[in-house]
C-alpha cells in the first residue's frame, strides 16, 4: 500500500536539512514499526518520495511524503505512534492511502505557496507587487559557491499579496509554479537588495498546489 503523509517542520526544526529530515523520517518509521518497502539492488533504499526540498531555515506547514509499504497498516494508529517518536518541531498532519493509479508527488505538484515575514525597513507596497507581476522577466544575481549565478525571479510567479502578520509586522505571500523561480529570488527582486541582506528572512512554505494532493 502507498500512503501519502502530510507533515510540518517548524521552529528550530526548520534548520534540519532535507537530507537529514529524510533520515529522521526513515528512522522514525522504522521505530514505529511501519513496514516500509525497500528498493531492490546492491544498496536497498526505503521507497519514499518527497516533495521538493525545503531550504535550510525555511518552515514547512504542509510538506508531503509518499511511503510505499509492505502490506496494510492502520493509518490513525501509525500517526499516533509517530507522534510520540518524532523530534520536536516535526509532526505528521495527516495521512491517507493512495489509490494504485494516483500520480506521484512529482507529477502532481504544480506550484507552491510561500510567505515571508517582512522586516520594518523592507519597504514594499501593493503597487510594487503589481509592477513586478507586469514584468516579463526579472533578473537577479547571487553568489553561489563563489560564482555569480543569474536567474529569472519572474518565472512562474502567479500571485503576490501583502497581509498583516504576527506581532504587528507584515507578510508577503508568494505563489509560484514548479518549476519556477525560487521565492527568495522573488523577494530579492522585489526589494532590490543584495541576497546577503535577506539571509535572516523568516520563510514558511504554506503548501503545494496540484490536482489530488
Amino acid at each position: 500500500m502507498k500512503v501519502r503523509y502530510t507533515y510540518s517542520k517548524i521552529g528550530l526544526a526548520r534548520f534540519i536539512s532535507h537530507l537529514d529530515l529524510m533520515r529522521v523520517l526513515f528512522r522514525s518509521f522504522s521505530r514505529a514499526g511501519i513496514p516500509v518497502a525497500y528498493s531492490q539492488g546492491f544498496t536497498p533504499h526505503p521507497r519514499f518520495e518527497f516533495c521538493p526540498p525545503l531550504k535550510v531555515g525555511m518552515e514547512g506547514l504542509r510538506e508531503l511524503c509518499d511511503a510505499e509499504l509492505m502490506g496494510e497498516i492502520d493509518i490513525p494508529a501509525a500517526i499516533a505512534t509517530l507522534g510520540g517518536i518524532l523530534p520536536s518541531g516535526i509532526s505528521i498532519g495527516g495521512a491517507r492511502a493512495l489509490p494504485p493509479s494516483s500520480p506521484t508527488i512529482g507529477a502532481a505538484i504544480q506550484g507552491a505557496r510561500y510567505s515571508v515575514r517582512l522586516l520594518p525597513d523592507w519597504r514594499l507596497a501593493g503597487e510594487d507587487l503589481e509592477a513586478f507581476l507586469g514584468l516579463s522577466e526579472a533578473k537577479v544575481s547571487r553568489l553561489r559557491e563563489g560564482r555569480e549565478r543569474v536567474s529569472d525571479a519572474r518565472r512562474g510567479v502567479r500571485a503576490l499579496s501583502l497581509s498583516p502578520g504576527d506581532g504587528g509586522g507584515r507578510e508577503l505571500s508568494i505563489e509560484v509554479a514548479l518549476p519556477g523561480a525560487s521565492p527568495t529570488d522573488v523577494l530579492q527582486a522585489l526589494l532590490a537588495r543584495p541576497a546577503e541582506d535577506l539571509r535572516g528572512a523568516r520563510w514558511t512554505r504554506l503548501g503545494f498546489i496540484g490536482e489530488g494532493l
Binding site: 546492491f42 518524532l86 523530534p87
Partner: protein
C-alpha cells in the same frame, strides 16, 4: 540571557547565518530536559556536535544520569568559529542543547577527554560560557565545577589549571556518586556557614575572596574523600627541580589521598544505553553501538587505551544480542557496531555474530566490527559480517618488520595477513583499510622500508586499499611513556620513504600531519606547567587542532614562545625508568614495575631476527 531569549535570538539572528545550524538546535529523540533536578550536569565533548555525538562514553553517562529522577544531564559541544562569532555578536553565551540554559548555570560541567588535540577547544568553550578560564579564578560557589574524565584523565596534569576535578577510570557508577557527594557537601557547607557568625560589615573583598577559596578547597576535599577515583588537582602541589624536571607531587594537607586509583566497572553487562539519543543531523559514527568488551589483554606497548582499560571485562552473548536488538528498535538506525578494542578476542564473538547477523539482516540492519586484531579474525566472522555489511575491513599491523613488531608487542605475520586478504576477496569484500605507524621507538630506515614493502605486497590482494600512516606519540601509563618521540625531520623522512616506494594506483595513502603529531606529543606527556601553554595557545587563537586544516603551526610556535615552554622538553622528556613521573599518582590499574619491565623487554628485543 534566559533560555527563552536564547532560543528566540538563535532562531532569528544566529542560526540563519551559520553553517550546519542543525548542530545547535537540540531536540533529538530521547533528549531530556528536567528543570526540577537537584543537581545539574552539563556533558561536553570538546569538539563539534558530529564528533561529540559519536562518542559512546558521553551517551552512556547521559543515559545513566537522566534515569535518576533527582539529577539531570544535558549537553553542549564546541561551536564552529562562524557560530562563535555570531553568538558573541548577539550576546549569547554557550548554552545547553536541551534547555538552552547557559552553561555557567550548571552545577557540574563534565568534559570527555579523548584526544589531547581537543584540549585547545576547552578554553574557548569556557570563555564563550562567560567563565573565568582558570579553576583558581572560579572560587565563587555560583560557578560550575569542571570535571574531566576519559582516557585523558590518566595524565590530568596538563589540564589541571582549568579543571576542578577529574574522574579516573570508568564513570558508570562514579557519576552518580559524584553528584550525590556534591549535593551532600554543598548542604554541609551551607549549614556550616549558617551556624558560624555572620561576616562583619565592611568585610574586604580580598578577605571574602580568601574565604571563597577556602570554601571551594573544602568542598573538593569532601568530594574526593567520598568518591573513589576522584582527583582534585588543587589539593596537590607538584615539585620541580631547577632544570624543570618533575620531582614529585604531594597533598597540600592531611586527609587527602596521596594516590588516586582508577574506578573499574566490574560487570560490563550492566552497561547499557536504554534511551539512545538519535541525532537529527548526520554524525561521524551514526550507528547503534554495543560495547562488547572493555579492556584488552594484548598489551601492545604503544596503546594507551589497552593499558588504561584493564582488566578485560566482557558483555555476554545473551546480553549483547538483547542490547543490540533493543537499541535497533529504539533508534531506528540502520547499523549496529560491536565495540571493543579488539572484538575478535571476545571468546563468544563467533556465536554472537552467528545469532545477531541474521536477526539484523532480516531487519535490513548492518553489523560492523570496527577493530579486529589480525591474529583473532576467523573465516566464520568474516562470513557473518559479510552478510550485512559490504564496506571495508580495517586491519592495523602498525609495524611491518618482525623485529619492530616484537619491540612494540604486536605481531602481524605477513603470510597470515596475505591469506586473510585472499579470504576477504573470495567473500566479496572490496576495500581493505590498513593502519601503520612511523616514528616507533628504535625504528630504523629498514623498518620504514618494510612498511612500504608490506603495503606494496598487500595492495595486490585484489581490491582497493586505503592506507593511513600515523606518527607514534608516546603516551602516559604505557610501557612507552619514557620513549623519545621522533623529531620533525625523522618523521618527514619516514613519510618520504613510504611515499616514494608505494607507487600502486590501487593504494590511497594518507599521512597524519607532522605538525599535528608534534602538538599531540607535547600535550600527551605534559605536566602542570602545560596549563600556561594551553592558555597561550588559546590567546594565539589555536582551536580545532584535531582538524588538520585548522592546526596552525605558526600560532603554536608563538604560543610556545609566549608560555616560555620548549616543545623539546615534552617530546623527549628527561625521565629515566627510576624517576618519578608527573602522572605517577594516578593509578591506572597497572603497576609501574610492570611498565618498567615491558619497557625493558621492548628495548631488549633483538635488533635482527
Amino acid at each position: 540571557m534566559n533560555p527563552l531569549n536564547i532560543t528566540r535570538v538563535l532562531e532569528e539572528e544566529v542560526l540563519p547565518f551559520v553553517q550546519k545550524p542543525a548542530r545547535y538546535i537540540g531536540g533529538e529523540t530521547n533528549a531530556s530536559a528536567r528543570p526540577d533536578a537537584e543537581v545539574r550536569l552539563l556533558l561536553s565533548y570538546p569538539d563539534v556536535y558530529e564528533i561529540g555525538m559519536s562518542h559512546l562514553g558521553l551517551q552512556i553517562l547521559y543515559d545513566i544520569v537522566n534515569r535518576e529522577g533527582r539529577f539531570a544531564a544535558e549537553r553542549a559541544f564546541s561551536v564552529w568559529p562562524d557560530m562563535e562569532e555570531r553568538m558573541r555578536k548577539e550576546g549569547i553565551p554557550l548554552f545547553a542543547l536541551e534547555s538552552f540554559r547557559p552553561a555557567r548555570e550548571f552545577d557540574f560541567w563534565g568534559f570527555s577527554l579523548q584526544s589531547e588535540l581537543t584540549y585547545t577547544n576547552i578554553p574557548p568553550m569556557l570563555a564563550l560560557a562567560g567563565l573565568p578560564l582558570l579553576a583558581a579564578e572560579r572560587a565563587h560557589p555560583g560557578y560550575p565545577l569542571l570535571l574531566g574524565g576519559g582516557i585523558g584523565a590518566f595524565n590530568p596534569e596538563v589540564l589541571s589549571d582549568f579543571f576542578d576535578l577529574f574522574l579516573i577510570g570508568d564513570g558508570e557508577e562514579a557519576i552518580i556518586e559524584i553528584m550525590e557527594a556534591y549535593k551532600k557537601a554543598r548542604q554541609e557547607g551551607q549549614e556550616r556557614s549558617r551556624s558560624s557568625p555572620g561576616a562583619p560589615i565592611g568585610i574586604s573583598a580580598s578577605l571574602r575572596q580568601g574565604r571563597r577559596e577556602e570554601g571551594k578547597l573544602e568542598l573538593l576535599r569532601r568530594m574526593v574523600n567520598r568518591v573513589e577515583g576522584l582527583y582534585a588537582p588543587a589539593l596537590y602541589r607538584p615539585e620541580h627541580d631547577a632544570a624543570g624536571k618533575f620531582t614529585g607531587i604531594k597533598p597540600i594537607g592531611p586527609g587527602i589521598p596521596p594516590r588516586i586509583e582508577k574506578r573499574v566497572l566490574s560487570d560490563l553487562n550492566r552497561s547499557e544505553i536504554r534511551r539512545p539519543l538519535i541525532p537529527l543531523t548526520e554524525v561521524v559514527h551514526d550507528r547503534s553501538a554495543v560495547e562488547i568488551m572493555r579492556g584488552c589483554a594484548r598489551g601492545c606497548r604503544f596503546c594507551a587505551a589497552g593499558w588504561t582499560s584493564r582488566p578485560v571485562r566482557r558483555k555476554g552473548k545473551e546480553e549483547t544480542v538483547r542490547q543490540a536488538l533493543a537499541l535497533t528498535e529504539r533508534s531506528g538506525r540502520g547499523e549496529v557496531s560491536l565495540l571493543s578494542l579488539s572484538s575478535g578476542d571476545h571468546p563468544e564473538i563467533a556465536a554472537i555474530m552467528e545469532e545477531l547477523a541474521p536477526a539484523l539482516a532480516r531487519r535490513r540492519i548492518g553489523l560492523s566490527l570496527p577493530s579486529l586484531n589480525i591474529a583473532s579474525v576467523t573465516e566464520a566472522m568474516l562470513q557473518e559480517s559479510k552478510r550485512v555489511s559490504k564496506s571495508g575491513i580495517t586491519l592495523a599491523p602498525e609495524a611491518a618488520s618482525p623485529r619492530l613488531q616484537l619491540s612494540i608487542g604486536k605481531a602481524s605475520d605477513p603470510q597470515r595477513l596475505w591469506d586473510l586478504t585472499q579470504k576477504l576477496k573470495s567473500l566479496g569484500w572490496r576495500l581493505l583499510k590498513l593502519y601503520f605507524m612511523i616514528g616507533l621507538p628504535r625504528e630504523t630506515k629498514e623498518d620504514v622500508e618494510a612498511v612500504a614493502e608490506m603495503i606494496n605486497r598487500l595492495s595486490r590482494w585484489g581490491g582497493e586499499t586505503n592506507v593511513t600512516i600515523s606518527t607514534f606519540v608516546p603516551k602516559p601509563a604505557t610501557p612507552f611513556q619514557w620513549a623519545p618521540m621522533a623529531g620533525r625531520e625523522e618523521i618527514r623522512s619516514a613519510q618520504g620513504i613510504i611515499r616514494v616506494r608505494v607507487r600502486s594506483r590501487r593504494v590511497r595513502l594518507k599521512f597524519r600531519s607532522v605538525e599535528t603529531s608534534l602538538v599531540e606529543g607535547v600535550l600527551s606527556r605534559g605536566d602542570r606547567r602545560s596549563g600556561r601553554l594551553l592558555l597561550a595557545a588559546y590567546e594565539e587563537g589555536c582551536r580545532f587542532d584535531e582538524w588538520e586544516e585548522c592546526l596552525q603551526p605558526e600560532r603554536w610556535a608563538r604560543a610556545f614562545a609566549r608560555a616560555g615552554i620548549a616543545p623539546e622538553f615534552y617530546l623527549r622528556p628527561p625521565y629515566g625508568l627510576e624517576d618519578p613521573l608527573p602522572w605517577d599518582h594516578i593509578g591506572s590499574g597497572v603497576d609501574k614495575a610492570t611498565l618498567v619491565e615491558e619497557a625493558r623487554k621492548a628495548n631488549e628485543s633483538p635488533l635482527y631476527i
